[in-house]
Amino acid sequence: MRSLSFVDFVSLISAIQWTVMLVVLALAFGAPLGLGLATARISRFAPLRWLAASIIQVVQGVPLLGLLFFFYFGMPMFLGVQVPAILAVTVAYTLYTAGFLGDIWRGGLEAVKEAQWEAGACLGLSVLQQFVHIIGPQALRLSLPPTVGFLVQLIKGTSLASIVGFVELARAGQVASAATFQPLMIYGVVASLYFALCFPLTLWSRSLEARLDGSR
């Protein structure tokens, strides 16, 4: 055992970068996949709608911890290869993000009136043009507050990656706490760091909600 030192705080703060990296990776892969799921959910082709709905149901119905375990411990069992923690964790968070954003964005797309599609079609625009220029931007405005809200969930959710040994903010806290036997202090700092990351986003989400009444 050693006493709490400045180094511990530095290690905690520098661990934020891994938390942020995990969030960025989850969004980089999960957001496009989520967009695909959202558009598949409103597709005219029924099997595509069902497939997307099932994926969303499964992802939302399984605890995030379950996803992490599945890809970290399950994959070696099924595939016979040990996947690196970073890979397993990225896949799990990508699916998690896609499942939730897909559902949020589907709601946004459905909230745009059918007549808007029609107005675009009547001007001779293709379905893709209608989506990109007319429906998408309106849906995005409607979905922005809940999207930012999900981002907060995602940031806090990355702490679960510590379970499979991925060193991010929460794991760094465990390490420091084990070394110094100052759990209260260490986890207090860890909690305040999460709060410092999430609180501005919560404020942003709230101000978006007030500003974007969906009409423009």
Binding site: A115, Q116, E118, A119, G120, A121, C122, L123, G124, L125, S126, Q129, H133, I134, P137, Q138, R141, S215, R216
Partner: protein, 242 residues
């Protein structure tokens, strides 16, 4: 050859047959007004002409080409046919200028350099030159509807369809929209309108089509139809709308 030829068109919504064999010809430059009670199939017929609805039987030809037989160039067709709706359907996230220029730009009918001038030109025609930089929700209903008309005009349509375009407006705003439509009529635009504005039907239209129970019940020039209706249904309809 008529610009629009509707031949024995049948249309069902589920089990309800809303069009029971409708035939109608509209010549180039003609202004045809469709009147009738709600549920008589007038709006549905208009939507079928633009292929917004599929049809179960018959044929609709515009400029000699069948509209519903899996036209590969449905988009090109729609670029030549303007339709204005009761609810305006402007794009709320775009300013007036962009509402007007979006489709001409995306379909290659104008260039970025010429787009602003195009918007100015069509807005002048509907008397809204000063609203080019406004957001749709800053406009009154009548102004929004005139922007919707300008948005169609920017596509240089050969045919304009109007689906009860004044029905959602406050009474004092109806006149400004009708004035724009009268001006378009004077300039020779082919127009098919579904309307409850009997004054407009009487004064501007070349021909009135009275629809009843999914059929063209009676048609003819306004002078004849309004003064000497042949069927009791039209007579009672006219009596009720006076």
């Amino acid at each position: 050859m008529a610009l629009v030829e509707v031949r024995d068109v049948h249309k069902k919504f589920g089990r309800v047959e809303v069009l029971k064999g409708v035939s109608l010809d509209v010549a180039e430059g003609e202004i045809v007004t469709i009147i009738g009670r709600s549920g008589s199939g007038k709006s549905t017929l208009l939507r079928c002409i633009n292929a917004l609805e599929t049809i179960e039987g018959g044929e609709i030809r515009v400029e000699g080409r069948s509209v519903h037989t899996r036209m590969k160039d449905l988009r090109l067709f729609r670029q030549r046919v303007g339709i204005v709706f009761q609810a305006f359907n402007l794009f709320p996230h775009l300013k007036v200028e962009r509402n007007i220029t979006l489709a001409p730009l995306l379909t290659g009918r104008t260039t970025k350099a010429a787009a602003r001038a195009l918007a100015e030109e069509v807005l002048a025609r509907v008397g809204l030159s000063d609203k080019i930089d406004a957001w749709p929700d800053q406009l009154s209903g009548g102004q929004q509807q005139r922007v919707a008309i300008a948005r169609c005009l920017a596509m240089r349509p050969h045919l304009m369809l109007f689906d009860e375009v004044t029905s959602a407006l406050d009474p004092e705003l109806v006149g400004e929209v009708l004035k724009v439509m009268e001006e378009m009529a004077r300039q020779g635009m082919t127009m098919i309108l579904v309307t409850h504005e009997m004054g407009f039907a009487r004064n501007v239209a070349n021909r009135i089509v009275f629809m009843h129970q999914g059929r063209v019940w009676e048609e003819g020039p306004p002078s004849k139809l309004f003064t000497a209706p042949e069927t009791p249904e039209l007579a009672s309809f006219i009596a009720n709308t006076k």
